[in-house]
Every structure is written in structure tokens, then in C-alpha cells.
């Protein structure tokens, strides 16, 4: 009977084309608006590293007094989102985690070997070799630099695929040199496209930014006095000069640790507390510094990776969808009640309530399917509109996955079937005798 009801639905939709188009439009516009915001929302709130997100921890350390200036608005723990250079060095030296990496964002001037290319600035991340295996960064050529390179402040770099394409036309550049800030750096690895969204390991500036053009040893960046391109917040006196900054309580470095098991987490937590106690005993603080650890999902929540504005936008768009569905429901009610004569004839000819219900619901499903497909088209247009209006950042967020496509169509059908329940119920309540008497 499904095929029969489907054929009847198509007949019925052709009977009143204007009403049908209005219903499909109402649903399509609602789906389009909600799916556009949901697509962006999902990208913003998705797990950027699902395989390991529960094993990677952002480390916080309370080197500022409790009554100091607030660093993270709304942070109930009174902890900053970054740590100082002294903590970074001490925590790296302790090797208390399976893997650990301090890091900060910086930039260098690159002078290409090809004289036809002008020098340009590259965005770099100063870090330790552990970052690559810890974050499962995929390599196209070569690999991470060695632990010795970290220790020796080596002038080595891992570059992005985009930079490799630009400078070496995609060829294997491992072993080649790059002139950065007038120093030669040896390329040891080229990574594949690696763009976790959000950029969980550094949410201080551009939460949805790229992972940059290259990576270099943290120790080398410090030695070369490379300034941070990220946020730097200070408490207390800061002596002038680079050494002054390194010895200050300014926080400007992100620190991540890989802790594969719950026992590792417990151990690391204890280690942090001991470290804090040691630092207090050493006379550095007259308070016991608090410590914090957040896995990736917890860190995204802590750092408000998805802004309240986006959440509100999703709510508004779904409210709009609800209004559209109410309109569609009204139109569907008018359409179905306009055919109550047909329904009563069918009842007289042997259709039970279930048959009438199925027929109407399948008709609603067909409208929903058409509305869902239209909504999908409008979602694609909406995302294209967002891309043309906003930055690359939005561009990176606005990809429609096969799941999103399925979701749009499913949402259209499901929402319309739900909206069609009331008109269908009304159709089922039609008393065939009264309809026939009226005729």
C-alpha cells in the first residue's frame, strides 16, 4: 500500500500546486535557516581530536594571587588559561607525563630561495617534539625533530603542506633549508593538512584559526627571543628586556600533557600539587598556587569555544523553523480538511482510520522530503553566503558533511510528519456519514 499512498500523495500535491509550493517553501526556508546555523555550531562545538580528547590535558597553574586581576572572565577557579615561562620549563624538565609540550604562537620573516618570491611573514608555533605524536599530527614527508634538537636549540622546522606547496611545489623538502629571520633552518618534516576545529591547543586568540605555517623548537624560539603572537598577561613587576619577561609571572605559554590512563591522570594531578607546594616553600609565593587540568572537551567548555551568541542563534533559527512548521501545519490542515470529502468517500469504500492516517502521513512525508531537499539547497546557499560575507575562519567552519546532508533531509521529513500529525488526526476524525449527508 505504500506505493499506492505515495502515488495518491503525488496526485494530491499536483491538485493544488500553489498550496503545495507554499508548504514546501515554508519547510525549506525553516530547514535552510536552522541547518545553516547548526552546521556552523556543530563545527564549532565538535571534538577536534576524538580519538584522544580524553587523554590530552591543558595544564593551568595559579602563579597569581587570588585577589589579583581576573584573567579569564567567569573563571571560577581564578586560574589563567596560560602559564609562565618558568612553569613551562619546570614542567617540561619534570617529564611527569607520557608526553608533554609547552608551546606558543610566534612569527618569522621568511626569505624564499626563489628570487621571484618576495619575503613574507609566516605564522609559527614554538613547541617541543612531543606535540606531533601527542596530537597525532600526520606527516607527508619526514617527521618531528629529535629530543636532542629540543635540547640543543636546533635550527630545524616542520612546515605545513601549504607552505611546502608554495616554496617547493609540493616536492619532498626534507633536508632543504629555509631562511627565517636571516637564519637558516633545516626542514625535517612536512605535515599533511592538519586543521583541528576548534584549534583546541591554543584558544587564546583565534579559536578557529589555522595551525600555522611551521613549527620550530621552543628552546630555539626562546634563544632567538621570538615574541609571542598570542596573548600575554602579566601580574606584578616585570623587569625590562627578554630575561625580565622569562623571569616574570607573565602568562603566555600553553602547556599540554598526554595522560593515557586514569592512573596517569591521578599521578599527574598529585605531581602538580607537589610542584605547587614546592614553589610555595621555595618562597616564590606566599600562597599555595592552585592547579588545573582539563581534557579537550572540558577545555572547550572552560574556554567558551562556542560563544553564547552562537547558541542563541541556533535557538533563534530553530524557533524560526518551528514558526515555519506551524505555517506548514496550517496549510496542511487547510489542504487535508479541504479533502475531507474524499476521505469520507474512502472511508465509505472500506478504508479504516489507519489507512486514512497512513495516506495523510505519507503525503506529509513527501512534502517534508521536498522541503528537506529545498532546505538542503538553501543551506548550501546560506553557507556560501556566510563564506562570501565573512573571513576564512567561517569558511573553515561551513563545510556540509554527508551527515549534515542526511540530517537536513531527515529533519525535513521528521518535522513535517510531526507537523502533519494534527491535520492527519483531524482527517481521521472526519465522520464519513456526516460528510456524505452534507453532500
Amino acid at each position: 500500500m505504500f506505493a499506492y499512498y505515495l502515488r495518491l500523495a503525488l496526485h494530491s500535491l499536483r491538485r493544488n500546486v500553489v498550496l503545495t509550493i507554499l508548504m514546501i517553501l515554508a519547510i525549506g526556508v525553516g530547514i535552510g535557516a536552522s541547518m545553516t546555523t547548526v552546521t556552523v555550531f556543530r563545527a564549532m562545538s565538535g571534538d577536534p581530536i576524538p580519538e584522544k580528547s580524553a587523554q590530552l590535558f591543558a595544564i593551568q597553574f595559579g602563579n597569581w594571587p587570588m585577589n589579583g586581576p581576573q584573567m579569564v572572565p567567569g573563571d571560577g577557579e581564578g586560574l589563567q588559561e596560560q602559564i609562565s615561562y618558568r612553569e613551562a620549563v619546570n614542567l617540561m624538565d619534570a617529564h611527569a607525563a607520557t608526553r608533554q609540550a609547552a608551546m606558543y604562537s610566534t612569527g618569522l620573516a621568511l626569505t624564499p630561495a626563489n628570487p621571484q618570491l618576495q619575503p613574507f611573514q609566516v605564522q609559527a608555533r614554538a613547541t617541543y617534539r612531543d606535540l606531533f605524536p601527542m596530537f597525532d599530527v600526520p606527516f607527508r614527508y619526514g617527521g618531528a625533530w629529535s629530543a636532542d634538537d629540543d635540547r640543543d636549540h636546533a635550527e630545524v622546522v616542520v612546515i605545513s603542506r601549504a607552505l611546502n606547496d608554495k616554496l617547493f611545489a609540493g616536492a619532498n623538502s626534507v633536508g632543504k633549508t629555509l631562511s627565517l629571520d636571516n637564519h637558516d633552518y633545516r626542514v625535517v618534516g612536512v605535515i599533511e593538512k592538519w586543521e583541528p576545529i576548534p584549534r583546541f591547543y591554543d584558544l587564546t586568540t583565534d579559536k578557529y584559526g589555522t595551525s600555522g605555517d611551521l613549527f620550530l623548537p621552543f628552546t630555539r624560539a626562546i634563544e632567538a627571543q621570538m615574541e609571542t603572537w598570542g596573548n600575554s598577561n602579566c601580574s606584578g613587576n616585570v623587569d625590562p628586556g627578554w630575561e625580565g619577561r622569562l623571569n616574570s609571572e607573565c602568562v603566555w605559554i600553553q602547556f599540554w600533557a598526554e595522560l593515557p590512563t586514569p592512573a596517569d591522570v591521578t599521578r599527574y594531578r598529585a605531581f602538580l600539587k607537589n610542584y605547587a607546594t614546592e614553589q610555595q616553600r621555595s618562597g616564590r609565593f606566599d600562597w599555595l598556587p592552585r592547579t588545573g587540568m582539563h581534557d579537550v572537551p572540558g577545555w572547550l567548555i572552560h574556554e567558551h569555544a562556542v560563544s553564547n551568541e552562537v547558541r542563541i542563534l541556533v535557538l533563534v533559527s530553530f524557533s524560526f523553523l518551528a514558526v515555519c512548521l506551524l505555517n506548514a501545519m496550517g496549510l496542511m490542515l487547510a489542504k487535508i480538511m479541504g479533502r475531507s470529502g474524499d476521505m469520507s468517500v474512502r472511508r465509505a469504500l472500506g478504508a479504516n482510520r489507519g489507512a486514512v492516517f497512513s495516506q495523510c502521513l505519507i503525503e506529509a512525508g513527501v512534502i517534508g522530503l521536498a522541503g528537506g531537499l529545498l532546505g538542503l539547497g538553501l543551506t548550501i546557499l546560506g553557507l556560501l553566503g556566510l563564506r562570501s560575507l565573512f573571513s576564512d575562519e567561517v569558511n573553515r567552519l561551513s563545510h556540509l558533511s554527508p551527515t549534515d546532508v542526511g540530517l537536513a533531509v531527515l529533519l525535513g521529513v521528521a518535522a513535517t510528519v510531526v507537523a502533519g500529525l494534527y491535520p492527519t488526526w483531524r482527517a481521521v476524525q472526519v465522520q464519513p456519514a456526516w460528510q456524505l449527508k452534507a453532500q
Binding site: H11, A348, L349, N352, A433, L436
Partner: protein
């Protein structure tokens, strides 16, 4: 075939209870052609809708083809209606966006026949009413008489035990009405049991038996000679 005994149908509101049928008894035997007549508001259509299982009754007994229909649920009533009853309506009640064959197909679909059986029955019933050549036409492309013939074909397609006709010629001109009536008579001669509600005394007289309803009750026509005279006066 159709037996109602002391049947009543009351419509209740908060303040008033109105009886459309009261102590209504009728027995239609297999193969009979019965005309049900009466003035407007007498309860003719209510009788027809109850007989067709489209409406519940308030009291009394109703047996259709030997089965007591009281207390049947919607599914059971729908199945019984589909299998045993064929409806012919005054306004034809064809579905406008289905062609002739698809209209005849409607009750067969709910009966659950397979495709071949449905096609056979559609063909046979359309041939019976002389419209086999019009099976792909839509109702709007047919005359009133042809539409009523399609409705009769639809009623016949499921081989029902009982045909219920509600003013079958009410929307037709004299010539078309004559054609439809001749078709019903032919069906009766072939053994169909027909109950026809009509205002028209000319049609009523052509039935085998006439049952007259006044104020929801069957009136004995032999004790109301004026009615019979009146009915025959129009011939």
C-alpha cells in the same frame, strides 16, 4: 441480508435528544430491490448510513448478512463495509484527481486484492456499465450519467452482497436518470440485492418493494393510501 429490529438512532446535545430513527424495523431479503422513501428529514439517509456501517446506532439490533454488527470496532466495520456493501451516492463522489479505472480501484485496494485481480475486476465492472473505453478518462471529462455509471462500477467491483443507493438519479437529467435506473434494474435481475433511498415516486415504483419512512419510523403504505396514490400520481 439486511435486518434491523427496533433500531433507534438518537442525536444528543446538552439540552435536547432528537431521534432520527425510532423503533425502526426492516428486513431486506437476498435478491430484493427495495426503495426507501419519505419526506425530507424523515430519517432515510440516517437509515442508509447505519445500514452502510458509516454510523453507529443507539439501540435495537442490526444484522448484516447474518452477522450482528453491534460492538464492532472501526477495523471490523471497515472490512465488513468493504466486503459486503457497495455504495452509490447522489453526488457520485468520484475522486476528481483519479481516472475512471483508479476510482473503481479504490475499494479493491482496501480489500487487498493483487494487481491482476484488481485489473480483472476493474475491466469487468466497467464493461458492465458500458464504460470500459473510458477507463483513462477523468471524472471531469464525463457526463453526469457516465460519472454515476463509474460510481456503480466502483460499487460493483468488489462483488458486494448489498448495494446501497442514495438518490442515485438525484443529480441527473431525465434521460440520464432513465439509463442509470435501467442499469440498476438489470443488476437486480442478475441477482443483486439493492436498497435505494429516493424522493422520486417514479423510481420507487420501479423497485420490487417500497418502504416508507416518516419521522424515523416505517409506515405501512397500505394503511396510508394517499401516500401510495400520491406516489403513483407522478407516474
Amino acid at each position: 441480508m439486511l435486518k434491523m429490529t427496533h433500531l433507534s438512532k438518537a442525536y444528543r446535545t446538552e439540552v435536547v435528544e432528537t431521534y432520527a430513527l425510532r423503533e425502526f424495523s426492516i428486513h431486506v431479503r437476498e435478491g430484493e430491490f427495495v426503495a426507501v422513501t419519505g419526506p425530507s428529514g424523515s430519517g432515510k439517509t440516517t437509515f442508509l448510513t447505519i445500514a452502510g456501517l458509516l454510523e453507529e446506532f443507539s439501540g435495537g439490533e442490526y444484522r448484516l448478512d447474518g452477522a450482528d454488527v453491534r460492538g464492532l470496532n472501526d477495523n471490523q466495520r471497515s472490512r465488513l463495509r468493504n466486503e459486503k456493501i457497495g455504495f452509490i451516492f447522489q453526488a457520485f463522489n468520484l475522486i476528481p484527481d483519479l481516472n475512471v479505472a483508479d476510482n473503481v480501484d479504490v475499494p479493491l485496494r482496501y480489500r487487498g486484492f493483487n494487481g491482476a485481480e484488481r485489473r480483472r475486476r476493474i475491466q469487468e465492472s466497467l464493461e458492465r456499465v458500458g464504460l470500459a473505453a473510458r477507463s483513462r478518462h477523468y471524472p471531469s471529462e464525463l457526463s453526469g450519467g457516465q460519472q454515476q455509471r463509474v460510481a456503480i462500477a466502483r460499487a460493483l467491483a468488489g462483488s458486494p452482497r448489498l448495494l446501497l443507493a442514495d438518490e442515485p438519479t438525484g443529480n441527473l437529467d431525465t434521460q440520464m436518470a432513465r439509463g442509470v435506473m435501467e442499469l440498476l434494474e438489470e443488476l437486480h435481475r442478475d441477482g443483486a440485492t439493492i436498497v435505494m433511498v429516493t424522493h422520486d415516486p417514479e423510481l420507487a415504483i420501479r423497485a420490487q418493494r417500497e418502504v416508507h419512512i416518516v419521522d424515523g419510523q416505517v409506515v405501512n403504505l397500505t394503511s396510508s393510501p394517499r401516500l401510495v396514490v400520491g406516489a403513483h400520481a407522478g407516474l
